[in-house]
């Protein structure tokens, strides 16, 4: 199933959320993203990411590879969809950071499990799952 942000299939503990195809452009996307999720932690992340979308240079760290607005948009869609889930993907990210190569990484943690979802500048989305520090699975979602 191809989604608005292009990923499909999951290998973690829960089925993916139901995703609705959209053709939102930037303004409509901002309206969508501004609908408040239940949890304040999610809301804070989305607010921060909207600031990044307005000013991508806020994500610059140690070099000049800037994260594009289209990639930030994609990340906001994913986070916004996650915020509406129950179960595993109901926990908010522990960190959302630039990857140093023009991409963004979403990090999640629950007890001994850690997940990272990497939105690469190339357009790929990779997911990695660790248990007790050991990589137990990875997938190229798109």
């Amino acid at each position: 199933m191809t989604t608005a942000y292009g990923y499909y299939g999951w290998t973690v503990m829960q089925s993916p959320p139901e995703v609705v195809e959209t053709s939102a452009v930037a303004d409509e996307f901002l309206v969508t993203a501004s609908r408040p999720p239940k949890d304040n932690a999610w809301r804070q992340w989305i607010d921060k990411m909207l600031e990044w979308w307005k000013t991508p240079s806020l994500l610059e760290s140690d070099d000049e590879t800037q994260v594009s607005r289209s990639l930030i948009e994609r990340a906001i869609r994913i986070v916004s969809d996650f915020s509406k889930n129950q179960g595993t993907w109901s926990l908010p990210p522990s960190a959302i950071v630039p990857d140093g190569n023009g991409g963004l990484s979403l990090h999640f943690q629950r007890s001994k499990y850690r997940w990272s979802i990497e939105l690469l500048q190339t357009g790929h989305i990779d997911m990695y799952q660790f248990a007790d520090g050991i990589l137990v699975s990875s997938d190229r979602l798109c």
């Binding site: 760290s61 140690d62 950071v97 990857d99 140093g100 190569n101 990779d126 990589l135 990875s138």
Partner: protein, 139 residues
């Protein structure tokens, strides 16, 4: 081990510093990106040697930005990794290079992230933040 006879070899207990942009150092932990190679890690994961010091290691970062510095020792490296000193001030882990991060081979990407996770866990001492002082790097 030193590649150049003018370069002092790395001692087993030498402190090595990984420069970490502030954004990769959260309130309680480092993120995996702190030990994943970036575009500047073309030959391998770059580390400053002990003689540089933590403040000096951070100073090699971009001016106007703040950096943390993670401490590692050669004994922290997991099996499969080596370390090369190319200067008395600099060393690198050749297996953890930018090409590996960009690889189309799933196993290569996985191995890199496993190594990065091990280093992240073994980096027990993080110092800073300290200011970067380098001019803007062109990429």
């Amino acid at each position: 081990m030193a590649e150049n006879s003018d370069v002092n070899p790395i001692a087993e207990n030498e402190v090595l510093y990984r420069r970490i942009p502030e954004v990769w150092c959260g309130t309680n932990q480092l993120v995996l990106e702190a030990f994943l190679p970036t575009k500047s890690d073309t030959d391998g994961l770059s580390l400053a040697r002990e003689c540089v010091g933590a403040v000096g290691a951070a100073a090699t970062g971009r001016q106007g930005k703040q950096f943390y510095v993670g401490e590692l020792r050669p004994t922290d490296l997991p099996q499969g990794l080596s370390i090369i000193a190319d200067a008395n001030e600099h060393a690198f882990i050749p297996e953890m290079n930018h090409a590996a991060r960009q690889s189309d081979v799933k196993e290569t990407r996985e191995q890199l992230r496993q190594w990065a996770e091990i280093l992240r866990q073994r980096c027990k001492n993080v110092l800073g933040p300290f200011p970067g002082k380098a001019a803007i790097m062109k990429t």
